[in-house]
Symmetry: C2
Amino acid sequence: MIGELELILCDIGNTTFHFLIDDVEQKYFLNERLPDFNETIYYISVNDNATANLKHSNDDLVDLEQYVNFKTKYKGMGLDRKIACIGYDDAIIVDAGSAITVDIMKKAKHKGGFILPGLKSIKDLYPKISHKLQFDFNTKVNLDKIPLCTQDAISYAILQSIIEPIKKIRKKQQIIFTGGDGEFLSKYFENSIYKKDLIFENMKRIINANNCIA
Amino acid sequence: MIGELELILCDIGNTTFHFLIDDVEQKYFLNERLPDFNETIYYISVNDNATANLKHSNDDLVDLEQYVNFKTKYKGMGLDRKIACIGYDDAIIVDAGSAITVDIMKKAKHKGGFILPGLKSIKDLYPKISHKLQFDFNTKVNLDKIPLCTQDAISYAILQSIIEPIKKIRKKQQIIFTGGDGEFLSKYFENSIYKKDLIFENMKRIINANNCIA
């Protein structure tokens, strides 16, 4: 059983190596020197160059992609998105990181999804459009009132541009949030939960289901 | 009456001097050398530096701001937004340029508004987040189906992030679109019209109403 074993997981993304080492998280930027862990690393990757770097410092690696049997008609779906969806029969899965991916599972089938820019990238965009759109994000802006100042006008628009497209495709399913902004965004939706370690949890499921550990 | 007179209007924005010279449009970038028009220029401006440049090349200027008596509780509303709203008692006014401003007029009162990033700036944002989010915008993406490829997943999200926040605040009013992307976006809304020269039309209304022309 996992949990009694020491286990090293790694989620290789576009900006970091995200490790879970004996249930403790650790992040390294892609240009950082990685330690030699001297143990098996079970990884998933959406970044071939970064994967090559991990292989340079560690020999004992298991690519979990080979165990992922996720059927979808969606062309070009990232491995991390697939893994986030595993185990959900009827739900919307939202991974709110540098981009915000939104995927729909219905009757245990993946029905498709869409990709919004990440919260930080949208915030940073406004002052680049005009210095008059400099603002401090108001996390408490009232979404039931039409804004009456620039700060609220932008904060409101940012939130609604994320919230409303998700509400549009939602029937009554639960929404599962993960990613750096997942907890914050989950507060705007009824019947939603935030799973900080959704990807790692599902990597463990894959390891368990496939008896990957010798 | 206007229309029989030669008339030079100028809308000074964050990226261009936008002239209407005897009903013909002409744009100059802010760093371009401006001609000496030898006639009165009726202008509005949201850009003090650019206004100073116009004053450098032309003496005979009338700032229309002094004639704009637009009441609102909104703090920091740009003059161009105010002028776009003039004359509408019950409508949503959307100026889709480098930013997309959305304003609500109800019973001849301005109720507030919000500011989305411009269409081009959102399109350009994706490949900066990740090279895997390079895409060609699909202007014909079906908004009634959940996307099944990256191109559609991004195109769909961009459109819905603009359309849905506007639909959210809309009752049954007409929507007036202007700005470079106004015509394209207006197609997604029933009971909407595109007014390419909304700002210039309203500048003429102001000139007429105030007998500005000696």
